[in-house]
């Protein structure tokens, strides 16, 4: 895009990936499960937006396909499935957390710094307009990982897993303008199936344990 200087394009992409990180923090600070699902949908929307922006600025067509897939799978299908699960299981709030919200937010802040620290040596090698998003992507992956460990409800763990996937997708778009299309499609398929399986699974857990609280999963011990 000749009318837009590369510097401004970079700023726009960076801004939209920063919004992804912001929604991450919002998810960590949220207790209500349905709000978590909404935030995840919002984050996926930002992700699709970032991908579309990258596709627009670089003229890489196949990223549009990935962006469209993100909207269909992560903004529409998966949140619907999760809402259905939440409604059926009648779990609305994450009541007990292993780490309380203020402490979680502090830890997430530290994780962001770690992510920037790790990627610092390799970022200057990129000559792409999106290279700074790599650090944000790693930060989202780490926060997703942390949320997975610190929450107890199966649904929240699943959302955390999906947040991790969002981070990875941002990484792939940011660092390299997207992976080859066949890989991208494969990854989408895997994520969709994983989410569906986990959805079915939470139902089974509910039937077997009368709870989706994973602290009840203690039958197997050394």
């Amino acid at each position: 895009m000749s009318w837009l200087s590369p510097h401004i394009a970079t700023q726009i992409v960076d801004f939209s990936s920063a919004m992804l990180l912001l929604t991450c923090f919002a998810i960590v600070a949220q207790r209500r499960l349905s709000a978590c699902v909404d935030l995840f949908a919002l984050q996926s929307l930002f992700l699709a937006m970032t991908a579309a922006l990258v596709a627009f600025f670089t003229g890489t067509r196949h990223i549009y396909i990935a962006a469209a897939l993100t909207v269909v799978v992560k903004v529409i299908v998966i949140p619907r499935v999760l809402k259905g699960v939440i409604e059926r299981l009648n779990v609305t709030r994450e009541l007990v957390m292993r780490i309380n919200i203020p402490a979680s937010l502090l830890i997430c802040g530290a994780l962001v710094m770690i992510a920037f620290f790790i990627t610092q040596p390799i970022i200057p090698f990129g000559h792409l307009l999106t290279r700074d998003s790599l650090a944000i992507a790693l930060a989202i992956v780490l926060i997703g990982f942390f949320t997975m460990i610190s929450r107890q409800k199966a649904v929240t763990q699943l959302i955390a897993f999906l947040v991790m996937e969002n981070g990875l997708f941002l990484g792939a778009t940011a660092a390299t303008y997207g992976m080859p299309l066949i890989v991208e499609l494969g990854v989408f398929f895997d994520v969709l199936v994983a989410a569906l399986i986990a959805g079915i699974y939470t139902n089974r857990l509910q039937d077997a344990f009368d709870s989706v609280d994973t602290t009840h999963l203690t039958e197997l011990k050394e």
């Binding site: 890489t60 390799i122 990854v187 399986i197 699974y201």
Partner: protein, 504 residues
């Protein structure tokens, strides 16, 4: 051998499990399900033989416009998939039918079982033959999805718990590996420019020396942690004992014998690329250190087990750790030992889980203390348990002794790679030997207790001959045979594969 024959063979390799899987969904009778399964796995083994011969003559094979790449290393893994898959299929004939007869599974769920089993096979074959690191990742994640329901197939509370743990831990681990793949792509794009084949192994191997070492280092760490979760290396192993305990016996055999091997293969593939740009000490040191920790910790957990399936699960962690030490130390001996150990472990572990499956069906318990007098109750399975147990402790007449000795010798002569130890330090060898003695004691104590002693009165004695005994005998024979004489062609094949890992 013409390219056309190879193309058909590769096509069959992927099509056989795919068609058999979808067909299984529509077949009602258990007899035809087994027939479909055997035909499909037979085709798979036949195609592997054709490809193996071609690889042996030509070095490496690519097909379907570079989508598929098979060299000696992937052929060895394919060989393991084929052999263990065939053994499992034969074993399942008696195992699954008895479960249906006892009402453990509804007959219509048997179709689902075979469907998932075939998808599991397909994903593993795809992960082995795929030329692209990205497709390989997709295939390995697909194995997680296929096996989650297989592990939880009995639908008891414990199985559901094990399945959930497995799904979450492996998906998370594998996500980290995807980040590694992304970084790999990032580094190769800088050299290759914007091309869609920048993740192809054949492409990467050509330009590997020019890739950026900083990015590769980070990429390899992520890949190693990710796939290491799937291998079950300590400290990412906590899903493994639960999953192996709860899975039906043939599934446990496939998980332990094949899936771990495929994950190791993925690590080795990435390492082959990373090593050309980094010093081999970095990747080797990482592999050897985590391998040694896994080996040592698993050996002590073996000592504590009261559940024979968990015993075998921890022994898996132990042996994968040992193979990792072999690959990490490297050199012709260490690498050969590592690969040979993977083959032997796959045989011994599937044999062990077949025996465990038979025992579980008869005694209805997984507690070691409650199983007594196997020699009178289940003579054949007792023999299988003894053979596999002794093989897994690496006693002499069994093939694992050979490979374990090779790895220990390699470690003794060159020491751990990397900055942790100076060459010539004897500490790692001493640790390895001490821990293997601990594991040996643990195994022998538990297994002899189960095999001998007075049998409980209220249990049916004697064992009827069934088709499930054929794989038990064959695997036992191979375990002994591979120690006595290694067929020359097989040895050359494994040597070819280990040279591939050495060339940098």
């Amino acid at each position: 051998m013409t390219g056309f024959t190879i193309m058909i063979a590769v096509g069959l390799l992927l099509l056989a499990p795919l068609t058999a899987g979808w067909l299984s969904l529509f077949i009602k009778s258990s007899r035809w399900l087994h027939v479909t399964n055997l035909i499909s796995i037979g085709t798979l083994v036949g195609a592997e033989a054709v490809i193996g011969r071609a690889v042996f003559l030509q070095g490496s094979v690519t097909a379907f416009a570079d989508i598929v790449y098979i060299d000696a290393l992937s052929s060895v893994i394919l060989f393991i998939i084929g052999t263990v898959g065939l053994a499992c299929s034969l074993y399942m004939r008696s195992y699954m039918d008895e479960q249906v007869a006892r009402g453990m599974i509804a007959p219509n769920r048997l179709s689902l079982f075979f469907f998932l089993f075939h998808m599991f096979l397909l994903a593993m074959v795809l992960a082995t033959v795929a030329n692209s690191l990205g497709v390989q990742w997709v295939a390995i994640e697909a194995t997680t999805l296929a096996t989650t329901f297989l592990i939880a197939f009995w639908r008891r509370r414990e199985s559901l718990e094990a399945g959930w743990k497995y799904l979450i831990l492996c998906s998370v681990g594998i996500s980290l590996a995807l980040f590694g793949v992304v970084l790999m792509y990032y580094s190769s794009l800088r050299v290759l420019g914007d091309v869609s084949s920048a993740l192809n192994i054949t492409q990467l191997q050509q330009v590997a020396a020019r890739l950026d070492p900083h990015i590769l280092k980070l990429a390899f760490v992520f890949l190693f942690v990710g796939y290491g979760t799937k291998v079950g290396l300590v400290p990412m192993h906590s899903w493994l004992p639960d999953a192996y305990t709860e899975a039906p016996a043939p599934v446990a055999a496939m998980l332990a014998g094949v899936l771990e091997t495929v994950a190791v293969y993925a690590i080795l593939r990435c390492r082959g690329i990373a090593d050309q740009a980094l010093s081999p000490d970095f990747t080797g040191g990482l592999l050897a250190l985590f391998g040694l920790i896994s080996f040592a910790l698993a050996a002590f957990f073996i000592l504590l087990q009261h559940n024979y399936k968990r015993l075998f699960a921890y022994s898996s962690i132990e042996h994968m750790g040992l193979a990792m030490v072999g690959f990490g130390v490297g050199g012709p001996l260490g690498t050969f030992g590592g690969l040979f150990h993977l083959v032997n472990h796959a045989f011994a572990k599937s044999l062990a889980f077949f025996a465990a499956g038979n025992i579980h069906r008869r005694f209805k318990t997984v507690e070691i203390d409650q199983v007594r007098g196997l020699t009178t109750v289940l003579p054949w399975s007792a023999l299988a348990l003894l053979i596999s147990g002794l093989a897994l402790t690496a006693l002499p007449p069994f093939a694992l002794f050979t490979s374990e000795m090779q790895i220990i010798t390699a470690l003794g002569s060159s020491g751990l790679p990397g900055e942790w130890t100076q060459p010539g330090t004897r500490t790692p060898v001493v640790i390895l030997l001490l821990c293997s003695v601990v594991a040996f004691a643990g195994f022998l104590y538990r297994i002899t207790g189960m095999v001998w002693g007075p049998a409980p009165e209220d249990i049916v004695h004697g064992e009827q001959w069934s088709i499930g005994h054929i794989p038990i005998i064959l695997l036992g024979a191979m375990l002994v045979g591979f120690c006595m004489t290694l067929p020359a062609s097989f040895r050359q094949f494994v040597e070819m594969a280990s040279t591939l890992l050495l060339s940098r």
